[in-house]
């Protein structure tokens, strides 16, 4: 090869590489907006969920911390106060009129006032809250085990998911109430509680008063705040957008263990 022939080829090569990179980038943007490609990417979520269960086990416990690790103040994210007259009325009465409903695929539907929930055996845990955005905060939660309520309700064998219906509307016009869902492994997990206290005080409105879910092996958006009703279902395909949660309907992963 003659040396003189190299520079044009090199120039050509660099141009081709630059062109390919620009095209690839534009292609990636198009793929993100397509109907089919996000479904292909969804394979990653299914692999991660399967690997998480396989590697860590179904019953593994989340790390618990000490008082020394507590965040000075626990950050409120998402809804800071539900915008609805019904919720305002609950706050005005200091949640005296609040009642949690447990229904769906159960033998014995339940209804619990806050006082009744507080009278049940409680669990206190200091855990780390990991937001999907990337930040973490450590808080001390006290509440009743979800398993306690579900045992009382006697789930039917076909029940596969617990769906949490919440009081906070996600649209300005008061529609699109927040909801979430978890599988029965998480629903019956000993650290899955419905918390009514944060850092030894009644749960503040900004953090989900009067009752919020703690599901410690998943990211923050699974920890539904302002829980009004727990429904056991076989499938969440017919609820709202059909993806098992408000954020899931916006494209977020149902499996939030990663």
């Amino acid at each position: 090869m003659i040396d003189e022939r190299v520079p044009p080829r090199r120039r050509f090569f660099v141009r081709v590489a630059g062109g390919v990179a620009a095209l690839a980038l534009a292609g990636c943007q198009k793929l993100s907006q397509s109907e089919w490609f996000p479904k292909v990417l969804g394979v990653g979520e299914r692999l991660s969920a399967a690997a998480g269960t396989l590697v860590a086990g179904r019953k593994a416990m989340a790390q618990e911390f000490t008082e020394a690790d507590l965040s000075p103040s626990f950050r409120s994210n998402g809804t800071a106060r539900p915008q609805s007259a019904a919720y305002d009325a609950l706050v005005a009465a200091n949640f005296a009129d609040y009642a949690l409903v447990v229904d769906g695929l159960v033998g014995t539907p339940g209804r619990y006032t806050l006082a009744q929930l507080r009278a049940l055996p409680a669990r206190t845990q200091i855990t780390r809250h990991d937001c999907v955005e990337g930040w973490s905060a450590i808080g001390k939660w006290k509440g009743v085990n979800l398993a306690t309520l579900l045992e009382a309700a006697q789930p039917k064998p076909e029940a596969r998911f617990a769906v949490f219906h919440c009081a906070d509307p996600m649209e300005d016009d008061g529609t699109s109430l927040y909801y979430e869902s978890i599988d029965m492994d998480d629903a019956l997990h000993p650290q899955t509680i419905l918390a009514y206290e944060l850092n030894d005080k009644p749960l503040p409105v900004a953090n989900g008063a009067p009752l919020r879910l703690r599901v410690e092996r998943q990211l923050g958006y699974k920890h539904a705040k302002y829980v009004m009703r727990i429904e056991l279902v076989e499938s969440f395909a017919k609820i709202a957008g059909g993806n098992g949660g408000y954020w899931e309907d916006q494209g977020y992963q149902w499996y939030a263990g990663i």
């Binding site: 989340a62 690790d69 103040s73 780390r128 955005e133 930040w135 450590i138 263990g257």
Partner: protein, 284 residues
């Protein structure tokens, strides 16, 4: 190839023979890795954009300030400024970090659209890309490890000998003078090259995967408190970020070396496998 036409030239240096340098398996895995790491890096930056701050410790809210923060703030009357704050020192990074222009539009985002995937704030999609290509990367990496052990690629081509390790100072001098191996010596990786590859393969890449797993609340349950060995989840996130940029540093040096030692020859050897051995230098 050039005979007859170059009669006047005084004895042109003999063109080196083509040498089969990279096996098909290595070539396929190399380019799979290029695609996966590029997409992981870009989608990772978009994930970072959702909360553009880094901390040291178990949580983000410890009472101590962030190590790194990128953002936008009001500046003067109605003006806005992109800023980057590192260890308490603040820099105006308008145009690149915090606030940048893309296709005529101004975007308030930490890393600019041209380097992030998707270009603009879309966390759920960035996560989908990231976790899909994380699997591509990990599976490809495990295949590479198995292949390298089985084919002796690791032992034959990557592990430096004791003799080679003693030539590190010499190799360093050669690199700084852009003096490159020729003849037989050019068929092997040089000692600095071997060490760079080994550090990337056995330190940086496993570390970035481990720190990614440390951010998974589910994988954290594997052994209670294992994440604290690295300083906690937020420290793991910081290490993940730093290692990503160390890998960018490696890629820049790698591509620079590819260019200065013969762009086409090197690229061809990673596409077809054939590498033209530079003829033995007459001096030295």
């Amino acid at each position: 190839m050039t005979e007859a036409t170059t009669t006047a030239a005084p004895a042109p240096p003999a063109a080196g023979a083509l040498y089969y340098r990279h096996t098909l398996a290595v070539r396929v895995m190399h380019w799979t890795n290029v695609v996966a790491l590029t997409l992981l890096f870009m989608s990772g930056l978009q994930i970072f954009n959702a909360h553009p701050a880094l901390y040291w410790g178990k949580s983000s809210y410890t009472g101590r300030p962030a190590l790194l923060q990128i953002g936008v703030k009001e500046q003067g009357e109605g003006g806005v400024q992109g800023f980057t704050r590192i260890f308490g020192r603040e820099f105006d990074t308008t145009g690149v970090l915090g606030l940048s222009r893309d296709s005529g539009e101004v975007h308030a985002q930490a890393f600019p659209g041209w380097i992030a995937l998707p270009s603009h704030q879309w966390l759920s999609m960035a996560r989908s890309w990231h976790f899909f290509f994380a699997w591509v990367f990990v599976i490809n990496g495990l295949c590479y490890l198995a292949y390298s052990l089985w084919s002796r690629h690791l032992a034959r081509d990557l592990l430096p000998t004791g003799g080679e390790l003693r030539t590190i100072p010499q190799s360093l001098r050669d690199h700084l003078r852009f003096r490159h191996e020729t003849g037989e010596a050019a068929k092997r990786y040089n000692v600095l090259q071997k060490l760079a590859y080994l550090i990337v393969i056995f330190v940086l890449l496993p570390l970035i995967v481990l720190m990614g797993l440390a951010m998974s609340p589910r994988i954290d349950t594997l052994f209670t408190g294992w994440v604290d060995l690295f300083g906690g989840r937020q420290s793991a996130r910081t290490i993940h970020f730093v290692v990503a940029w160390l890998l960018v540093g490696f890629v820049l040096i790698h591509v620079f070396q590819v260019i200065v030692t013969g762009l086409w020859n090197n690229v061809r050897s990673m596409i077809t496998g054939r590498y033209r051995v530079p003829p033995e230098a007459s001096h030295d």
